[in-house]
């Protein structure tokens, strides 16, 4: 276990990784022998499991060994799990930069041409590219694929919306505020959200950032471009607006103790006029709140302004030490191109399945919230307003930066300016390690 032997292993690993990446991948397929894909998914999201079941139906020699964990544990465990001997073939990855630096993820460039991913719109895959040194993101080899491409915005409870007189979605931030005030006066919880163990308030915050400013600088910060900062005047305005909502009591009193599942359960149960969330819940909401739920993109600050929202791939990667990498890549390709897979993607998930633009998006029930989110997704793409999630900037920025600061903000222990500066400081600290 000496230093030299570990260094040697590190050098050999790096060399073989580069060697492999330039070799043409002979045949990325799952073959005919029995294969077990070692998979690490996120609890509470049935989509990948449903997809795996369909895949096994179509390719009976392939089975999945699925381990699920909650988001926080997933983030914490992925470095260790990927470095271990049982590295997953498929792993849900909220954040990839740190893992790339340590050489834990498989470089997927080889599959890029072989499987025809160069036909997918480049903008789909840009968030999945990372420079080999780990930064910046947005350029360099491909290290992950998206199971689908999600969109975030505002879900609303239609019957509660009627009660406050909302006939059409608000067109400006001011209109949104007015609706929330009316809800509060009527005894309705204006915003249903979660803030534990991770800060769900990052969703409304990023939506506000998109209302006030351009997505470009925010993406630069998330991609770790040199000299990027999140502490900008427009972002400060967004943070202050969020603080105003907190002070006005628009969030539930115990939001710091509400977790994601509890949050969904409450909104579905009828608590909360608005919920800032993503279209991965569209399928679920269409089932449980049929006809009673709607969606709109976060309105801009001024009427007619451009929209910007978090729209990110549902990132899945393949471990660098994975034993069945070819089969895993084949699976990822199948998800994007196979008709049944795309159908499941839209029905269960609700997000855009991506893939080559000539493949049709499966039809959805008119009037469903899935239809709304898919349509709004096109609007966003047209305005080039897609941003990655601010929580994905580094491996730990969510747990060590956004979550503590937003929890403190809810508790009245800090103010908008201090919180934003603290997050930037944490970001700089992590990049320097």
């Amino acid at each position: 276990m000496g230093v030299t032997s570990l260094k040697a292993i590190g050098i050999i690993a790096a060399l073989s990784a580069t060697a492999l990446s330039t070799t043409a991948y002979a045949a990325a397929s799952c073959g005919t022998d029995p294969v077990v894909l070692n998979s690490y998914f996120e609890t509470g999201f049935p989509l990948p499991t449903k997809l795996s079941e369909e895949f096994t139906k179509q390719f009976p020699n392939v089975t999945f060994n699925i381990k699920e964990d909650q988001f926080k544990n997933l983030m914490e465990n992925s470095p260790r799990v990927l470095a271990g001997d049982n590295a997953p073939d498929l792993i849900r990855l909220p954040s990839i930069s740190d893992l790339v630096i340590d050489g834990l993820l498989k470089n997927l460039d080889g599959y890029f041409t072989e499987l025809g991913w160069d036909k997918f719109p480049a903008s789909q895959l840009v968030q999945l590219r990372v420079n080999e040194s780990g930064r910046p993101r947005g350029e360099g080899p491909l290290y992950a694929m998206g199971l689908n491409y999600s969109l975030t915005g505002v879900f609303y409870n239609k019957s509660l919306a009627e009660k406050v007189g909302m006939t059409t979605p608000p067109a400006t931030l001011a209109e949104l505020d007015a609706l929330m005030e009316k809800a509060k006066a009527a005894g309705i919880v204006p915003i249903q959200e979660w803030n534990a163990p991770n800060a769900g308030l990052a969703f409304p915050l990023q939506n506000l950032m998109g209302s006030y400013g351009d997505p470009g600088p925010i993406n630069d910060w998330i991609f770790q471009k040199p000299d990027a900062t999140i502490d900008t005047p427009t972002n400060l305005k967004a943070m202050q607006h969020l603080e105003a909502w907190i002070k006005a009591g628009y969030f539930p009193d115990d939001v710091n103790a509400i977790d994601y599942a509890t949050n969904m359960s409450r909104f579905i149960g009828g608590t909360g006029l608005f919920m800032f969330n993503g279209d991965w819940e569209s399928g679920n909401l269409d089932k449980q709140m049929a006809g009673n739920v709607g969606f709109f993109l976060m309105p801009p600050e001024t009427a007619g302004g451009k929209h910007a929202a978090m729209s990110a791939p549902l990132t899945y990667g393949i471990g660098a030490k994975a034993k069945n990498a070819d089969c895993a890549a084949f699976f990822l390709n199948w998800v994007a191109t196979n008709e049944s897979a795309r159908r499941i993607n839209v029905d269960v998930g609700g997000s855009n399945p991506g893939g080559p633009p000539d493949l049709p998006i499966p039809a959805v029930a008119p009037g469903s919230v899935t239809e709304a989110t898919l349509t709004q997704g096109n609007v966003l793409a047209g305005e080039n307003g897609a941003m990655d999630f601010i929580a994905n900037a580094t491996g730990a920025i969510f747990a060590e930066g956004w979550t503590p600061q937003l929890q403190l903000l809810v508790g009245g222990r800090t103010d908008a300016a201090t919180a934003l500066t603290a997050v930037q400081a944490e970001y700089v600290k992590e990049l320097s390690r």
């Binding site: 609890t43 964990d69 909650q70 544990n73 260790r80 271990g84 001997d85 049982n86 359960s265």
Partner: protein
Amino acid sequence: MGHAGATEVKGVTAGGFAARSIIVGLMFVTVLPFITMFSAALAPSGTYPSGLQWPADPQWGNFFEAFKSASMDRLLFSSTTIVICVVPVAVLIGTMAGFGLARLAPRGSGFVYLLFVIGLTLPIEVVIIPLYYEVQWLGLLNTKFAIILPLIALFMPFSIYWMRAHFVNVPQEMSEAAEIDGAGPWQQFWLVQVPLARPAILSLAILQFLWTWNSFLLPMVLVETPLERTMAGALGAFQGQWGTNIPLLCAGSLIILAPSVILFVVFQKQFVAALLQGAVKG
């Protein structure tokens, strides 16, 4: 002891009643968490029951579902295997070493004893990091041996302290008599000392069983597959996977802690004696 001491309490019944009510109160606080878990386990799966309430439609099926989802049968098998591998070995070599240090006491053994005793206050977090890399280097990561070997080692300080304290208090005459009969140390050990030490050994085995069954951090770090861990280690993974489904999580937790509690209630006399003596050996 019991009745003699009661005379100074004014009015035996009144004092006795007050005393018993306090104890009953403490017992209530002790079992309350289990009662609430039980009531939550009977609520419909996926819901968020409020506090303590007997559900209108008790879902006994939750227990079956939890048993299946967590593959409890495999878990039981895995934990039992680990216990069988750890406890006999640890008890044996701990007793041998305790005997060696107490009765045979070669030169330098004082120092060795001190080395063991240092481990009594050692937080496991201090060694978990190198243990991970060491076990990985040995190629044992994610196997049961990743848990078995370190646990045996970690049990040594207490086992040796415990058994040595016992052997030290055995009267000289016993071993002298055996020696006169021509018994060597090994025979002395097996034929004389070990049978004498049976209560101490039993207590030690019980304690080690508990510590093995309930170990959490070690299995969690060194064994990735939840089904190869101990029950407690798997409970952590269970919470990760099903933590958002409260009734299922409560049902699963109750099943996981049932074996220890059942064993405890059956052998409660030995357990209590072991736990109490384990703390105050004097």
